[in-house]
């Protein structure tokens, strides 16, 4: 029997990410944990979920293992469609991608995400990040945005320093419509300690699930804005031994992203 002590934070994120993906969808994946989560979903409940990799491939077969990045040659193995980066973003602009699966450095209660800088100003930032990459356009034009981030107060902020990837903006009901984007917007935020969704009426972030042993109050303490707590809030599901085996031996055997630690039993 697997207990939460057997599962490291990255495995928890990857497994939770996998759980939220539906079969027969098209997932536009970012590098790292989104790829691992999607591979796990394909190996379990979503064999017909197909991936778009930003370097331009659609529905490749990941039989050579985890692509190290979205531009890895492995991400193109036996794809059915392989054009360039612009071509896959054109697909999203035509409405053909169900999920944007992205990361970021900060998120606010309306699901706006910053991956540009933290602290200071745009011109003189305290820490400058690599930049939008594909995330900005993915969050705009894929139907649902799933974000992955570590649960920390400095990341779950009242106001992001820079909106790199559009969420629900200032929360106005027509913010996205006015922006002319294709997708419905933020759908899930996945962390090692909690799974968040968004309240339909207010478009604010809502706690759906928390790590076994934690509590909604403990999660709130790690978030700088007021969370809505789902009426049916519950504990997160823990991966089974089979799930862990898949994550550790099929999805990321070198532990490049999962960085699993050896658990002494």
């Amino acid at each position: 029997m697997v207990t939460i002590a057997d599962v490291n934070p990255f495995e928890m994120i990857a497994y939770t990410g996998s759980r939220v993906l539906e079969d027969n969808t098209i997932i536009f994946v970012g590098t790292g944990l989104p790829i691992i989560a999607s591979m796990h979903a394909q190996l379990t409940h979503a064999p017909n979920a197909n991936l778009i990799f930003e370097a331009g491939s659609l529905a490749s077969m990941l039989e050579q293992g985890m692509p190290m990045s979205v531009g890895d040659t492995r991400a193109f193995r036996k794809a059915v469609f392989a054009k360039g980066l612009c071509a896959v973003f054109e697909l999203t602009q035509r409405g053909y991608s169900d999920y944007a699966f992205i990361g970021g450095a900060q998120v606010d209660m309306y699901g706006n995400i910053c991956s540009t800088y933290e602290g200071g100003t745009y011109a003189v930032p305290r820490v400058r990040f690599p930049g939008s990459g594909g995330a900005g356009a993915m969050a705009a034009n894929c139907e649902k945005t799933i974000a992955i981030m570590a649960l920390e107060k400095r990341r779950f902020v009242k106001k992001v320093d820079f909106i790199t990837s559009i969420g629900f903006g200032d929360g106005a009901p027509d913010y996205r419509e006015k922006a002319g984007v294709m997708g419905a917007g933020p759908y899930r935020v996945i962390t090692n300690q909690a799974l968040f969704g968004f309240d339909k009426d207010t478009r604010r972030m809502m706690l759906l699930e928390y790590l076994p042993g934690k509590s909604p109050e403990a999660i709130q303490d790690l978030v700088d804005f007021e969370l809505i707590i789902a009426p049916d809030v519950k504990e997160m599901a823990i991966p089974t031994e089979h799930d862990l085996m898949l994550l550790r031996t099929k999805c990321d055997p070198e532990g490049f992203f999962l960085k699993r630690k050896i658990v002494d039993k």
Binding site: A55, C86, G131, T164
Partner: protein, 331 residues
């Protein structure tokens, strides 16, 4: 648009066709990064370059910035993913030594597409409502769609003075052939460039071979300024069909990138201290063994199973064939 043999050394290609102050389309993505050309530009100490690119990995741009070649970057993402940051770019940006204009990847490729199409801008969804469009008004504007009246962003066409790319094959005339993992669609940046493209290629092929499969040509001869035969020219990034990503070397180089004190030593040892890309490869083999490179080669081939045949149609078959007629259409 002269038809001539454009093969030359990488040294000649860069000294003739990259000028101080140029804007440069920097090819590749997380694959096919023009690393040999990057090194040569650093070796020749080019200055004040403006870089146009969507996203770039393996730290090539980080090295260019560290070497003081760059004054301005327009892009969506720059990284050496294998150490999780572009440290030299970060230091330069935070010290105010380079200017940075942020885009998203779609915005950036749309800017390249506009240049490719030869038009001033292209509308693109997905910037309104973000801070990118507020801060990068040099590359993005919000306008009213003249047909629907709705707001839409437009991306200014990026037309660099010169493009640098790496490809699998090219012929002596400059027809460039590439396939597989494409990334940032180098034909956009190359065809949209003002003066033309410098290409390094794994192999030089006969023009007759290009003519047998023209679907695969991404840049036709007249747009090409220089053709450099340069095996391993994208190393440590991958070149589909020739070699995969050299993760260990990316990590090794990245550890230098991390440290402002150490990075000049990497530039000295691996770039200034190497006469050309062959010398860089020799150094690699000396340090990490031939097996370091052999490891990157494909284990087996993966050739298309589609039986592609363009066919030859003989016009002689129409000789003596009368016009088709019927009761309405008379000959």
């Amino acid at each position: 648009m002269s038809v001539r043999d454009k093969r030359m050394s990488i040294k000649d290609a860069v000294s003739r066709y990259v000028q101080d102050g140029d804007s440069v389309y920097y090819g590749g993505f997380q694959i096919m990064v023009p690393m040999a050309l990057t090194h040569e530009i650093i070796r020749q100490r080019k200055k004040n370059l403006t870089i146009f690119n969507a996203s770039t990995d393996v730290g090539g741009l980080d090295l260019l910035v560290a070497a003081g070649c760059v004054k301005e970057v327009h892009l969506a993402w720059a990284m050496n993913w294998y150490v999780k940051a572009p440290y030299a770019i970060r230091r330069a940006f935070q010290a105010g030594e380079i200017q940075r204009f942020d885009h998203s990847n779609f915005g950036a490729t749309t800017a390249l597409l506009a240049g490719f199409l030869g038009i001033p801008f292209v509308p693109v969804r997905g910037n309104i409502g973000t801070d990118i469009v507020k801060h990068n008004t040099a590359d993005l504007k919000i306008i009213e769609d003249p047909f629907s009246g709705e707001k839409i962003t437009v991306a200014r066409a990026w037309r660099a003075d010169v493009a640098i790319i790496h490809a699998q094959k090219a012929d002596p005339l400059g027809n460039v052939v590439a396939w597989g993992t494409r990334g940032v669609t180098d034909e956009f940046g190359a065809m949209g460039s003002k003066r033309g493209v410098i290409v390094t290629a794994e192999e030089i092929i006969d023009t007759e071979v290009v003519r047998s499969d023209p679907d695969r040509t991404i840049v036709p001869y007249f747009k090409t300024l220089a053709v450099v035969q340069c095996p391993w020219g994208a190393h440590p990034s991958a070149c589909r069909g020739y070699y995969g990503l050299d993760i260990r070397f990316c990590q090794y180089q990245g550890k230098y990138e991390r440290s402002a004190d150490l990075l000049p030593k990497f530039l000295d040892e691996w770039i200034y201290g190497c006469e050309d890309h062959d010398a860089y490869l020799k150094k690699y083999v000396q340090m990490f063994g031939r097996e370091g490179l052999d490891r990157l080669k494909p284990k087996s081939g993966f050739k298309p199973k589609l039986d592609i045949d363009y066919g030859y149609h003989d016009p002689a078959v129409w000789q003596g064939v009368p016009q088709y007629t019927d009761k309405y259409i008379r000959g």
